[in-house]
Structure formats: C-alpha cells, structure tokens
C-alpha cells in the first residue's frame, strides 16, 4: 500500500508490502521514524479521538474530551457510541477521567476543558 508519512513536513511517499518471512518491505521513507510509522499504519492504524459530552450544572453546556492515548482506528466509532446520552457532573478539571478503559482499548476518555460549577 501507498501512504504519506505525516510525522514531519517532508511528507515522504512510502510504499509498504508484506514481504517474505513475515517482514514488511518498506520503500520511500526518509528516516527510521517513517519506517516505523508505515509498519504501524499497515498493521494496525492508531488514532487519538476527541469529542464532547453534556455537562450537568456547569458553566458550559459541553465538556471537550479525548482519549489519553491512541486507540485502534476501528474502535473509534464503537467508543463514540459509548459517549452518547452520557451526562457528566460539573465541576470538571482538565485530565479528569470521564470514561475508564473505553471500549476495552485500555485508553481513558479524559476532559480537555475546565468546567466550573454554577
């Protein structure tokens, strides 16, 4: 498969194919980080996702949130479903865990905005 490395502005066009004896064949990367990135992308692409949840009794209607580490891309939609219909109580501080181990990914959904109580 063909991909563009997004780790630095050089934006190398990398080709990656499964090679012999379980190794990946990587071409076009400008540095080692790009090679690792391509292998990760080909095997199991990881992403951080962000969303917002409804707040009860807060100075803002919504609190923004993100996973505290990258999760497999195909777990994002499932994780998002878990946030729907959920309301969290103010006060909330940045870094507060809103959902533990979301969708069994090992990542927590944490608040990214401070919401005072009113």
């Amino acid at each position: 498969m063909q991909l563009i490395c997004i780790l630095c502005p050089r934006g190398c066009h990398i080709q990656i194919h499964p090679g012999k004896n379980g190794e990946w064949e990587v071409e076009g990367h400008g540095c080692k980080r790009g090679r690792d990135y391509a292998i990760q992308e080909a095997a199991c692409p990881l992403r951080v996702f962000t969303t917002s949840l409804w707040v009860d009794g807060g100075a803002h209607r919504l609190v923004s949130a993100r996973t505290d580490r990258s999760i497999p891309k195909d777990k994002i939609i499932e994780s998002l479903k878990l946030t729907k219909g959920l309301t969290v109580k103010a006060p909330i501080d940045i870094g507060d865990v809103l959902i533990k181990n979301i969708a069994g990914t090992g990542a927590n959904l944490v608040a990214t905005r401070k919401v005072d109580r009113i």
């Binding site: 997004i6 050089r10 962000t50 923004s64 949130a65 401070k114």
Partner: protein, 427 residues
C-alpha cells in the same frame, strides 16, 4: 471612565495571551488584555481536536488544553483581563475606546498597543454562489462552534467546499457524529490544508477530495436540498458538461480566513494587500510606532505554535518602544516576495538582531531552495523538498550577514529549483 496602561492588548486568543506574557517577562507590569468574549483562549476553545503544541510544548494537545496552559500562566502574573469587553476604536495616538456592560464606554490611554484580534472566515457572500438562501449553509467555523460548544448538529448529509484545515477537521467530526460527508470540493489542484489532516480526516473515512471542483449552484427554498458541483479549468471557470447534482442538507464553506483589521485601519495602520494584515518589522511593529500586531490578525497561520512564537516577539518590541529604542522609517530594509513566494512577514527589517521570516509559496514546488538575496549575494537559504501554499515556511537570517548591506537595497525572498535551467513550476 478613563484609564491609563503601559500596554493594551486587543484580543485574548493565543496571540494576545503570549504577547501579554512576553511583555510581563520583559518587566512591563501595567498590562491590560481586552477580550470581547466571555472567556480567554480565542478560537482555540472550539478546536477540540488534538494536534496543537507539538512545536511549543513538545506534546500533542487539544485547543482548549493549549489555551489553558497560557491562561494559567496569565493568572499567576496579575495581568488584568477585561472580558466581555469589545474594542470599538483605536486612535493613532493609542487611545482605545471599548465597551462592556459594567463600565459602559471606556477610554484607555496606552503607551503601546498590541493588535491580536485574529481572523474571520470568508462567507458565501465573498464567493457569490448563485441560488436561494436556504438554511443549511454554514462556514466551517460556525459549524465547529455549533457542534463543539453548543452541542447542536447542523445536518446529516454534508458537502464541504474548500479543503482548508477547519473544513477537513469538520469532515471527520461530522462523520464521527453520524453524518454522511459526501465530498470535499477544492477549486485548486492542491489542498490548502495540512497533509496530515487530509490523511487523518478524509482518507481514513473514504471521503473523496475532488480537486479542481467547485459548487456552482445551491438548491432549496427553506432548507438546502442539494448543490451542483462542476469541474473547473485552469482559469477556475466551470467546465460545461461536468456538472453533477449532489443531494445534501448541509453545505460547509471552508474557503479561507481573512485577518480582522477594521480597527487597525482606523488607527492609520498600513496593510499589506496580500496578507490582509499590517505591514510590520521584525518586532511586528506596524507603520504606526508603538502599535504592534501578531497572530492571525497579522497573517493567517496554520499552526497555533507559530502564533505563540510570533506573539512573543511583540513583547520585546513593546519594551523597546516604551524605552525609546524604536527604529525610524529610514532605518528599514524592505523585504519583497520574489519568484514562487506569495508573501513574506516581516515586510521590512531593522536588522540589529537575527530575524526569522515567515512566508508562503504561490504554488506547489518540489526539491529546491528558498533564498534571501540583496541582489548580489545570498544572505540566507534553506533546502526544501516541497513547498506548498497550505504550509507556512520559515527562514532565519543571521544578523552578521547584514553588515555592509545598504539600507537603500531591497531584499528579495525567492525560490530556486535544484536544476537551475529547469525553472518550470511543477504541480
């Protein structure tokens, strides 16, 4: 009510906050931030996605987290922040008029002023797309605010016009919220957004990005029902026979940002017709001595990290100005964009310290160098594998290299392909 301050900062977004902190670090104590919104942080509060701060903090933060780090710093200093306060006029003598519900009209006399009002989005009016005025047409930033701050979903079937970063980010956000994003149309043959956003926001979800395409008609009376898109030729005129009807209830416009400079112009500040922001020197001092400018009001940035970096410079500028160490017009060397370069900031330099230039290209260029020349010799250069309009580039000029360069000369920043003869533009 009438008050005095050493430095007044207009706008409490990332530019205003970093400028205020920098003034404080230079020993200025009487600093005032004037912000029309009810909170500090500017547009960052609605940019809840991650990707901020890689250059500044060395970690990937979301917009609100990035803003909060600066707000926490501000709180420690005792810098006064007037929220819900709208600046309505700035005079050339640096008298500021502002209003809020507590004090009514205020007159603020400042020694120095830093403009940090950010930018606004280009709207449909600026594009003149024919058709009715149905509900369902939003700028990408308005939609971002609706979803992330108000908690309201603008629609279910979406077409996005323009591949700027906000549009790309919103394509993903809408997909995550269950909407169907049918396509992103880009009139140019390249995206104006960051490559990583095209990858993460469109490619990840199979959303087509149609280059050389635009929306030529809007359909629907009360609510948007669809749009007609068409391919354009190299003069950006729609090509007959390529029209396609796409049904949708929402159209997002992500077609560019314009620095917000009505206040600056009122103060007599000269603007650069290309950037839409003030003409500045390396300390970001405008044509009016003692008035500075930074962030998106100066030129549109793609990464907030460089907004913070640029804003920091104004603190030193304000400090120099207050202490009577400001250059006069005849002390400046002009810097002009040459081949391949759309604009360069600063547009003029005094040159008693190293200068970092921020610039953008006017097209796609591959494998070459950008050079700063005085017409005879190259003063600074940098190798670039690619240079695209969507990504701001930087180049540092060492101060020593300016010795002996006459102030009557103009410096030029230009692109040179690696193969001298092969001067053709690639795309």
């Amino acid at each position: 009510m009438s008050v005095k301050t050493e430095v007044a900062i207009i706008g409490g977004g990332p530019a205003g906050l970093a400028a205020a902190l920098s003034c404080y670090r230079h020993g200025i104590r009487n600093i005032m931030i004037l912000e029309r919104d009810e909170h500090l942080g500017g547009i960052l509060q609605q940019c809840i996605h991650n990707g901020f701060g890689l250059h500044w903090f060395g970690e990937e933060l979301t917009g609100p987290e990035y803003a909060q780090r600066f707000i926490d710093e501000i709180r420690k200093t005792g810098i006064s922040c007037l929220l819900n306060t709208m600046v309505i006029e700035i005079k050339e003598d640096k008298t500021i008029y502002a209003v809020n519900s507590r004090n009514g009209l205020m007159e603020i006399k400042a020694n120095a002023v830093i403009l940090a009002m950010g930018c606004r989005e280009r709207t449909r009016g600026a594009l003149r797309i024919p058709g009715g005025r149905p509900a369902g047409v939003y700028t990408a930033g308005m939609a971002q605010r609706l979803i992330n701050i108000e908690g309201y979903m603008p629609g279910r079937e979406v077409v996005i016009l323009g591949s700027g970063d906000i549009g790309l980010i919103m394509a993903r956000r809408l997909t995550w919220e269950g909407a169907r994003v049918k396509m992103v149309c880009e009139i140019m043959p390249y995206s104006t957004g960051l490559i990583r956003n095209v990858r993460q926001c469109l490619d990840d979800y199979g959303i087509p990005l149609k280059y050389n395409h635009t929306v030529i008609r809007i359909h629907g009376k009360e609510r948007l029902q669809g749009v007609t898109v068409a391919r354009v030729d190299d003069k950006r005129n729609p090509i007959k026979g390529t029209e396609e009807y796409v049904s949708c209830d929402t159209l997002l416009l992500s077609v560019g940002l314009i620095p917000e400079n009505e206040l600056s112009e009122g103060a007599g500040v000269k603007l650069d017709p290309i950037t839409g922001g003030p003409i500045v020197d390396e300390f970001r001092q405008t044509s009016v001595p003692g008035i500075f400018s930074c962030g998106n009001v100066l030129h549109v940035h793609d990464l907030v990290d460089y907004v913070s970096k640029e804003a920091e410079i104004t603190g030193e500028g304000a400090y120099r100005y207050i202490n009577g160490r400001s250059p006069s017009d005849s002390d400046y060397l002009q810097v002009i964009p040459g081949k391949g370069i759309r604009y360069v900031v600063p547009q003029r330099i005094y040159g008693d310290s190293d200068v970092e230039f921020y610039f953008r290209s006017n097209g796609i260029y591959k494998d070459g160098t950008v050079e700063l020349t005085d017409g005879e010799k190259v003063l600074a250069s940098k190798r670039l594998m690619r240079m695209v309009p969507g990504q701001m580039e930087r180049l540092i000029l060492k101060r020593e290299l300016l010795t002996g360069v006459s102030k009557t000369k103009k410096l030029q920043l230009r692109w040179r392909n690696r193969n001298e003869e092969d001067d053709a533009e690639c795309s």
